[in-house]
Amino acid sequence: MQIKKSNIQSKLIVEPAPHINHRDSVPKIMWGVFISLVPSAVWSVYFFGIPALTIILISVITCMITELIFNILKKTPLTIWDGSAAVTGILFAFTLPAYVPLYVPIIGSIFAIAVVKQLFGGLGYNIMNPALAARVFVMFSWPTLLTANKYFLPTTSPESLGINFNIISGATPMHLLKEVVHTGKIDNYYDAWSLILGKTPGAIGEVSVLFLTIGALYLFKKKYITYHIPLSFILTVVILTFIYGLARGISINPEYSLLKNSLLYSYLHIISGGLILGAFFMSTDMVTTPLTKKGELIVGVGLGILTFIIRIFGSYPEGVMFSILLMELVVPLIDRSIKPKIYGWGKYETK
């Protein structure tokens, strides 16, 4: 078909440049993060049973409904399908024990979206990670519900999961590591394989290092996260715990040398508790990380130091959550002080 003079219409779309766009969009990124968390969710449902699934579903749905209510109240365009509320929901569920009463995830999710996210202005304006802030909120609201024994109520016999319950009596890996600080030695610990696969008591999403790593690799491949924060975070924890292990003379396996024991100690710190979940999924939340790569490295190191301090010297066994929340509050300061050098400014001007 040839266009004749008469029928090339002059109704053209006029837009400012650029006329092409990168394929990523906010919903794509958010649902990508959601998908990356699915493998660990599946594992936790397999391991903890249906209660884990219920909690995940309830917090995701509550988060999305709260978001919807705020959209209606604020008369803003609907943002429930951009996936950010769903990510908050699943991350919040991941920090909870599998056997808490159902009002805990409901109230926590409402708090996360309503107070931490929407009252600050919605997506992009929250100063803290909503899921983690809500976790702290429920932790102080129901301290007894979130203690160690709620982390693991075996629905199946523990022997079938390959865990000797007489020895470890349901304590989470982090509680055991805390004992090391007091006694300087460890009698019984989970073997590395059950820690990596996730056959240990703990919060829903934090137990399986393997499946979390798979999700993190997906995020790296999609370039939704960069290595700066996770790497500097984990490396700092490794170095500090290694030095601590050397200084304290920790003996985990009496047959090993001190050097090997210290290495083993920092290795256990990495694969136990919420460090992997925090390093790859929570501390990398775009909203609450610095804009510059240098700033991200600073945050990573700060996270490592804070985690180490809380884990070793604090009264809580786990420090990832608090250190992330604390570092997030420092982010505006970091952004204000670390700026990229502008082309043609500075030393070239004076020449």
Binding site: Q2, I8, A17, P18, H19, S25, K293
Partner: protein, 452 residues
């Protein structure tokens, strides 16, 4: 060479979309029946018309005389009669006087060859360039006789063959097909500028052009293969990539002893000096999926876009017509606009090709900051503009923004960042009140000529 040079800060790798036209040799476009030649096709003052309605003009005859030094001559691209003088919006969105000429038949053969150009004096050559109305053909259309007459001696001449915009392939084709003429053009430039070093910067996706240039440019210019990264062809970025230095802010390249010019400009210098042919034609890439015959064409300046689209056959109704590349080009209101000296491409998009944008809130991902080739803080500038804090934006360097569009391209929230910056610049420049929620759509990439 394993390690390729590139500018230091930021940059993005864009989908290239060059395969459609990169192997298409230049085709001479038909002589248009009617042309409209705007008198303001360059940065500076508009030319003054020297013909009246009813006059007969020859091909290459002067019809607009430059107004002062900071201006450029305009010539008639066809033989014909002047039928109208009026006002029109040029593709860059600037209102300008134009001269309409109707074709009366006949072509002029530009077969004069000045073999003795080496005997010309420098100021004679500059005068020829000035008379030919040559402007920078990369897009900014800066008058060349000013650029090639820097107030202080320079040490380096950089020929810009980067062509970092997707879709466009004219510079690539010039380097492949017109390499002998290009060499002469560079020799002429070397004679008037007397640089110590001459470089040709070229992105590594133009494999055959690099091969040809490396064979032919021995002893004339050093071919520098650069990483394919947008905006490698920006003047400041190219200087940074090749020499590793930065141009201080509010300074021009000659302040650091460098002149950067496009390969197309070098080619038209050759035409002006050797053939004594003024700038009345230029090479243009026409691309887009609905164009039946996409390719690289040699078209008369002043041809109406509608006539061009009829000649290359558009298969369905175009929904968006862009003059220039997709990153910095300007979407046209109407296709009844003529092409001008600075138009390097015509992109025709159908409805399906237009990318729908849905703006979300900024999620502070920091990607804009990582891609900014200047090292600015786009998301911070955006939030300051949005909160009406316009003086602060000036402090954090909005006037250093080169409006390359990399931040808008990468933004996952699809915020039109560069549009905000262009608007803020205009507001700062003319000190108008600023309404953050009523941001004007800026079509112009330059506004230096605005009457005050």
């Amino acid at each position: 060479m394993i390690f390729k040079k590139g500018f230091k800060k930021g940059g993005i790798h864009l989908p290239e979309h060059k395969e459609e036209t990169e192997n298409k040799p230049f085709v001479n476009g038909p002589i248009p029946k009617k042309v409209k030649i705007p008198l303001l096709q360059h940065i500076g003052k508009p030319a003054i018309p020297v013909v009246n309605i009813g006059d007969k003009v020859d091909e290459g005859q002067l019809i607009g005389k430059m107004d002062g030094e900071f201006s450029a001559n305009v010539h008639s691209p066809i033989m014909g009669n002047v039928t109208e003088i009026g006002e029109i919006y040029t593709p860059t969105g600037i209102k300008s006087k134009y001269i309409g000429i109707e074709f009366s038949g006949g072509i002029k053969n530009w077969n004069k060859i000045n073999t003795n150009w080496e005997k010309f004096k420098e100021n004679e050559i500059l005068e020829m360039i000035k008379n030919s109305g040559i402007v920078g053909l990369g897009g900014a259309a800066f008058p060349s006789h000013i650029k090639f007459n820097p107030p202080k001696p320079i040490h380096t001449l950089i020929i810009n063959g980067a062509e970092c915009e997707p879709y466009l392939t004219v510079d690539d084709r010039i380097m492949q097909e017109k390499v002998d003429s290009l060499i002469l053009g560079i020799e002429i430039l070397k004679k008037i500028l007397k640089p110590k070093n001459v470089y040709i910067g070229i992105e590594d996706n133009k494999v055959s052009a690099i091969e040809i240039l490396e064979k032919k440019m021995n002893g004339i210019a050093e071919v520098v293969t650069l990483k394919t990264k947008y905006p490698q062809g920006g003047e400041k970025q190219l200087i940074n990539a090749i020499l590793g230095i930065e141009v201080p802010r509010n300074k021009l390249p000659y302040d650091v002893g460098v002149v950067v010019t496009n390969v197309g400009t070098a080619y038209s210098v050759y035409e002006a000096v050797i053939k004594e042919k003024p700038l009345i034609e230029r090479f243009i890439t026409i691309a887009g999926q609905i164009v039946k015959w996409p390719g690289n064409y040699k078209l008369k300046i002043g041809t109406i876009i509608r006539d061009i689209l009829e000649d290359v056959r558009v298969l369905t109704l175009p929904k968006k017509v862009i003059i220039g590349g997709p990153m910095m080009g300007i979407a046209q209101y109407t296709i009844d606009t003529p092409i001008i000296k600075g138009s390097s491409g015509i992109l025709v998009f159908s409805e399906e090709e237009i990318e729908k944008k849905k703006e979300h809130l900024c999620i502070r991902c920091g990607r804009c900051l990582n891609v900014c080739p200047i090292g600015l803080f786009p998301s911070l500038m955006y939030s300051e503009i949005y909160s009406n804090n316009i003086d602060r934006v000036k402090e954090i360097g909005i006037f250093d923004c080169i409006e390359c569009g990399a931040c808008s391209y990468i933004c996952p929230s699809q915020i039109p960042l560069v549009t905000y910056f262009k608007s803020a610049k205009i507001n700062l420049k003319y000190e108008k009140s600023y309404y953050p929620n009523k941001i004007p759509v800026v079509r112009r990439w330059r506004y230096a000529n605005k009457e005050e």
